[in-house]
């Protein structure tokens, strides 16, 4: 069974909305408190990136529930300027906003699966999954 939903990101306030939806879904799926906090932090990072660099985009959620495992798939996509040097942004210690530990490497650490597709001028799509332990 797959349930889909999404939040549009246009203004900073939408980041909160994205977090809220993610947290609700994470709770429903039975994630523990720590994982709920990690998932929402990851959503914050993804939504914030859209807000800061792409102007607008969306964060979409899919509950994955099959026989063996349950999880939450989060897809953040935008039609912004895209990322020229993917390996650079995935490098620790590199952050345009000057934050510590955050950024895309942070999202990768918080989640179980991480994939990014980006084309300069076309936009960026980041897909992440967290499995219920």
């Amino acid at each position: 069974m797959i349930t889909k939903s999404s939040v549009q990101i246009r203004k900073e306030w939408d980041i909160v909305g994205a977090r809220q939806m993610g947290r609700n879904l994470a709770k429903e799926l039975g994630f523990g408190t720590v994982d709920q906090a990690r998932i929402t932090t990851a959503i914050s990072e993804l939504a914030r990136n859209i807000y800061l660099y792409a102007d607008k985009g969306k964060v979409a959620y899919e509950k994955i529930e099959d026989m063996n495992k349950k999880g939450l798939r989060i897809v953040a996509s935008d039609q912004g300027p895209g990322i020229h040097d993917l390996s650079k942004v995935m490098e620790d210690g590199f952050s345009t906003s000057g934050g510590l530990g955050a950024g895309l490497p942070g999202v990768k650490r918080l989640m179980d699966c991480f994939d990014i597709v980006s084309e300069p001028g076309m936009g960026t799509t980041i897909t992440t999954i967290k499995w219920v332990r």
């Binding site: 990690r38 932090t41 620790d92 210690g93 510590l100 955050a102």
Partner: protein, 334 residues
């Protein structure tokens, strides 16, 4: 005391004991718990989660406000956890870089190695110690078929890996010059062009080049802005600065280098060095030339190699065993 495992039971018991007695032993165990958690890459938010669980087990009627406040704390710590993980990764990376640099430093030593030749009537001592892993100083000895000795000593202004790379270039240029080209001023003019054409303008190299004739005791030399050496005249029992003129290498392709010469008599000595010796600092103060010469004088009666090593030990100790600049010293004793 028992060994610690990272689990809620353990933590709960510890917490319970502490709340009851507020004893130092429990706090010490909490410290152990914290260290062990770090060893196992447990992030701060997980510790807080364990704390929340333990608290709920100990106080099933925990006020809902306290419960919420603990969740609030957990959320707040997530970013610290991430920063901590990033720090771990960066620390591993740093370790890798350090080992790469140490391999490069070994390679540099092999590339730039020179052997001190046996010259009848001349006792030679030389030492070169980098302040960090890679050496920006360089010295080289070369002899020709009539047993003349060529001596090069150089210092790259700038440190670390770029300096070391530039030095390798100097060495190979020197090696590639024909053996007939022995004239110090000509050698420096040629090197100057090599440096000028191949090295970034922000990097300068100072160099002294000398040619010693063991038959006559004459030392011809030129210098490209290098720290002046000293000539010790045994007859007068005095040191003289070997004043020279010449622009550092790499500034202008038109640079020319005047050539000087001295004749060494028995028991005379020539001291060549880099600014790591003369600009040795004690606290905030630079050492002055007189002090350098005093130290040299103290050891110069010894065999040359032993003497340079003892002078180095002296300055190393003076600077609390932390060289601020690469240190190179050569004694030529007749």
């Amino acid at each position: 005391m028992e060994p610690y495992k990272f689990d809620v039971n353990n933590y709960r018991n510890l917490l319970k004991k502490y709340i009851a007695s507020q004893d130092e032993t429990s706090l010490y165990q909490a410290e152990q718990f914290s260290k062990l958690s770090m060893q196992h890459n447990i992030s701060p938010e997980e510790i807080i989660n364990v704390h929340i669980q333990a608290l709920k087990e100990l106080y099933p009627d925990l006020p809902v406000e306290i419960d919420s406040s603990m969740n609030f704390l957990l959320e707040t710590m997530i970013s610290y956890g991430l920063a901590y993980q990033e720090f771990q990764t960066l620390r591993e990376k740093q370790g890798e870089l350090e080992s790469e640099i140490s391999i490069a430093a070994n390679m540099q030593q092999t590339l730039l190695s020179t052997t001190i030749p046996d010259i009848v009537g001349l006792d030679i001592g030389a030492i070169s110690v980098p302040s960090h892993q890679m050496n920006g100083d360089y010295y080289h000895f070369v002899t020709d078929e009539s047993n003349n000795l060529g001596i090069a000593i150089a210092d790259v202004i700038g440190k670390g890996i770029p300096a070391a790379l530039a030095m390798s270039m100097i060495k190979y240029s020197l090696d590639s010059f024909p053996e007939t080209m022995r004239n110090p001023s000509v050698i420096l003019e040629n090197l100057n062009r090599v440096v000028e054409q191949n090295v970034d303008t922000s990097m300068f190299i100072t160099m002294f080049y000398g040619l010693f004739n063991p038959e006559t005791g004459s030392l011809q030399f030129s210098s490209a802005g290098h720290e002046p050496g000293f000539y010790y005249c045994a007859d007068k029992d005095q040191f003289f600065e070997m004043t020279t003129k010449g622009l550092v290498l790499g500034v202008s392709d038109q640079a020319t280098y005047e050539q000087f010469d001295i004749t060494m008599e028995s028991d005379d000595m020539v001291v060549l060095l880099t600014d790591g010796v003369t600009e040795c600092r004690i606290g905030e103060r630079f050492i002055d030339t007189e002090e350098v010469l005093e130290v040299i004088r103290k050891y110069m009666h010894l065999p040359a190699q032993e003497a340079v090593e003892l002078v180095y030990r002296h300055f190393e100790r003076l600077q609390d065993f932390q060289l601020r600049d690469d240190f190179t010293l050569i004694f030529l004793k007749k």
